[in-house]
């Protein structure tokens, strides 16, 4: 037996000894549990122990004076039934609001490093609000049989991201899975996702959050919940309410199994992470954890002690404070090393580059650390490069050659061009060619631009072409919430219609969008459900809608089979052509890698009223042979003839895609083109031609 596994002291009936000062949070150690916590301003700290789900603690153990080194308190408590244990801390210190100290020793606080959190174990079960200690830290058993799995190492160039909400993906009856709305339910859908062909799933926040935060009732008495979850309670804990096994607090095992099973299917897992603020709100918000443990460390405060609100959510995490920086880095390393996740998308990431006084930094230490971290070196890092405080960094996010960005300009330009706005021909050709006007590949690499037309935030792709205006009345804010710059077009009727002409056009517009998205250089991202025309009934901000507005309706898959087949075809098409993923090994002699064309080949028409754009990609296929792709877009409401660029003597054009042909948009047998004739692209249609040997 080791000397340091022996108790040295007793407190009441408990055997204790000084703990592991370099650890964070709780850890299982031989014979007991180690608890470590940092607080700079604390005078003393108590460890508060509960049996699972009990309101009152069974023990309160103060950290003895000698169990503190610097600002770190550490203690091992022996002989605990750790599966039936919940714990928190009570921290005693000054209350001086202006200075930023708001210690309150009456509050029991969640461990900032809690790896399992109890209290919201089953989604939507109303908590006992009379209980002050709502979110309860638990001890994790982190051993797991990975069967040889590690994070996937395929190049980022091959990413085709599929953005999904864990609960919304399978909660509807139509999903036909056993464990609806959960991690386990998502695992049941892996065969579908694999068949679609995407290579990564990006999950909306799965860090523990409270679906009851800001919960309201709508005019019909239905619950409006915090459904999206962009409000973190604990950064290290997978959301229990998303686990079918959450009632047993087995969410860690269930989520690890999810990652393992997706990896077996060759699909990466990317997490949407929210480090810009926490669920503690402003000075009127609850004490959950950070606020009561060391307010001045964890939040950016005004000189008067109030919370800066760069997140639009009440507070701003003090990301470039060394303690917080370390927490974020430790957290991401934990998710990669312990859960094998493959990457992260950072919500309102511009905040991660703000100084402790709120000002933007040129060389933010946090972002630099993340870019160069050895554990994260293969992880995809994606920034939402703006914040709610007016900092907009698309194209100039401090990237260190490592970071990708959500390309908001891609979304807006493609939407506007497709609906027929003028003056966008030049812009759209840049977007399709990888937005090198924004992201110089020399500095930013091949994968800086995450191209998307839709995401969770805004219209679905179907709604983009079914609604001119948002319809957010159900959100309870009188329709005032959600963006107004949707650049959407309803194709002639607002909402659902039986008009076959309008429905034909909507399907065509969706296919146009898919064809452009999946041929554009950069990383494409698809919103889950867009591939089968999922609707949110015109709601462009359903963050609070835990119901059929948000849940995927899998009945649409059968109804809109043509859309699904089209997406599947385009995803496979992208994978077949290395030139589209910037993995082409060489360029055909005499051709540029990417070129823009007008009605006439090699004559790009930059005039304001031009809505016909041809983009040609030239590279080599996987056999090293010349490979040409011509993407022809006619966003005009009339048809136009185009001349395709001449190919080398041994090659001919064939048309593979023509979205003007409805259910026959994908040619079963690609048709050869006669080079002496124009190709007529129908109104609001997209064609894709490829080279074949003549």
């Amino acid at each position: 037996m080791r000397v340091d596994t022996n108790p040295t002291d007793t407190y009441g009936d408990f055997k204790i000894r000084p703990g592991l000062f370099l650890a964070n949070g709780s850890n299982l150690v031989p014979g007991g549990v180690n608890f470590t916590i940092y607080s700079k301003g604390a005078k003393s700290i108590e460890l508060v122990l509960y049996h699972s789900h009990e309101k009152d603690p069974f023990a309160v153990i103060p950290f003895p004076e000698s169990y503190r080194i610097g600002d770190v308190f550490a203690m091992i408590v022996f002989d605990l039934d750790y599966e039936n244990l919940e714990y928190g801390f009570r921290v005693d210190g000054d209350y001086d609001f202006q200075r930023g100290d708001v210690f309150d020793k009456t509050k029991t606080l969640l461990d900032p490093y809690a790896k399992v959190i109890s209290g919201r174990n089953v989604w939507g079960v109303e908590p006992d609000w009379s209980n002050q200690f709502q979110y309860r830290s638990k001890v994790v058993q982190n051993d797991f049989d990975w069967e040889g799995d590690i994070p996937l190492c395929t190049p980022h160039n091959e990413l085709i991201i599929y953005e999904a909400h864990v609960r919304g993906f399978t909660k509807d009856e139509s999903s036909e899975v056993k464990f609806k709305g959960t991690y386990a339910g998502l695992v049941e859908k892996i065969p579908y996702i694999k068949d679609l062909g995407v290579t990564a799933v990006e999950l909306l926040p799965i860090f523990e959050f409270d679906e009851f935060e800001g919960a309201r009732k709508d005019q019909n008495g239905n619950d409006l919940l915090n459904y999206w979850g962009y409000s973190t309670v604990g950064f290290f804990a997978p959301k229990a309410g998303y686990a079918a096994s959450g009632k047993y607090s087995m969410q860690v095992d269930e989520f690890k199994n999810l990652v393992k099973e997706f990896h077996k299917a060759g699909i990466k897992i990317i997490l949407d992470v929210v480090f810009n603020h926490t669920a503690e709100g402003n000075e009127h918000g609850p004490y959950i954890s950070f606020k009561g443990i060391d307010n001045r460390t964890y939040y950016i405060l005004t000189p008067e002690g109030y919370y800066f609100n760069f997140s639009g959510c009440g507070n701003t995490l003090n990301c470039n404070n060394p303690i917080v920086r370390n927490l974020i880095l430790t957290c991401l390393r934990y998710w990669v090393s312990t859960f094998h996740v493959d990457g992260f998308r950072f919500d309102l990431a511009a905040i991660l580059g703000r100084n402790q006084d709120g000002s933007p930094m040129n060389n933010p230490p946090l972002l630099e650390s993340l870019a160069h971290d050895p554990i994260l070196s293969n992880s995809i890092l994606i920034a939402e490069a703006w914040d709610a405080g007016g900092l907009y960094q698309v194209g100039n996010f401090p990237a260190y050659g490592r970071w990708s960005e959500w390309n908001g300009k891609y979304r807006d330009d493609v939407r506007r061009f497709l609906k027929g706005d003028s003056g966008l021909a030049n812009c759209i050709s840049y977007r399709i060619a990888g937005s090198e006007d924004i992201y110089n590949t020399f500095w930013r690499g091949d994968c800086a631009s995450v191209n998307f037309i839709t995401c969770h935030d805004g219209f679905t792709l179907y709604d983009l072409f079914a609604y001119n205006d948002k319809h957010n009345e159900a959100n309870g804010w009188g329709g005032s919430d959600g963006g107004n710059d949707n650049h959407s077009w309803n194709c002639g009727w607002e909402g659902e219609t039986d008009d076959p002409g309008i429905n034909f056009l909507r399907h065509k517009m969706i296919k146009n969008a898919a064809a452009i998205l999946l041929t554009s250089l950069g990383i494409p991202m698809i919103l889950a459900g867009d591939e089968f025309g999922n609707t949110q009934y015109g709601n462009n901000n359903p963050y609070c809608q835990d119901n059929k507005i948000s849940w995927l309706d899998w009945n649409q898959l059968e109804k809109n089979r043509d859309l699904h087949e089209f997406f599947k075809y385009m995803i496979a098409f992208r994978k077949k052509h290395p030139v589209l993923t910037r993995q082409s090994n060489g360029i055909p002699v005499g051709y540029p890698k990417v070129s823009a064309h007008g009605v006439n080949a090699w004559q790009f028409d930059n005039s304001s009223e031009n809505r016909v754009v041809g983009i040609m990609f030239a590279g080599k296929n996987s056999d090293g042979e010349d490979d040409f792709i011509y993407l022809g877009i006619n966003a005009h409401w009339e048809s136009h003839g185009v001349w395709l660029p001449a190919l080398p003597m041994n090659l001919k054009w064939q048309v593979e895609i023509n979205t003007d042909l409805g259910d026959e948009s994908v040619y079963k047998n690609p048709a050869e083109l006669n080079s002496s004739e124009q190709f007529i692209i129908g109104a609001r249609s997209v064609i894709i031609c490829t080279s074949k040997k003549s």
Binding site: D81, Y82, E83, N84, Q141, D143, D145, E147, K178, F179, T182, Y183, A184, V187, A243, A244, S245, Y248, S249, M250, D253, E254, K256, N257, K260, E261
Partner: protein, 109 residues
């Protein structure tokens, strides 16, 4: 939790009775492993009312130990709630589970 050897001829049947949690799983694991020899073995789960995280790990370690000894081992007859936990967490894929003890006997004979 009690661990009982209820049959020991050409096959072994080991019956578990009770909750498999942090208080019992280490002991149960050791007892079952102690009973393993070269004979194919059925672990009857019929009377197991709950399996915790530690319990899952005990079942997995028993299976892994059996595999390392080239002993065929089948978990049989778990109640629905226990099967659900095994499915949710994915442990079911790492264990050989069948619906009833009779099914397991058929499979072994």
């Amino acid at each position: 939790m009690t661990v009982t050897l209820t049959r020991d001829d050409n096959i072994k049947i080991i019956e578990l009775d009770g909750q498999l949690d942090v208080a019992t799983s280490d002991k149960t694991r050791d007892e079952v492993i102690e009973m393993l020899d070269e004979k194919p073995t059925i672990v009857s789960m019929e009377k197991v009312t709950y399996v915790s995280s530690s319990g899952l790990r005990a079942l997995l370690m028993i299976a892994k130990t059996a595999k390392s000894k080239n002993v065929k081992i089948i978990y049989a007859g778990a109640i629905e709630e226990v099967v659900d936990v095994l499915q949710m967490t994915g442990f079911i894929k790492m264990l050989h589970c069948v619906a009833t003890v009779d099914d397991a006997i058929k499979e072994l004979s």
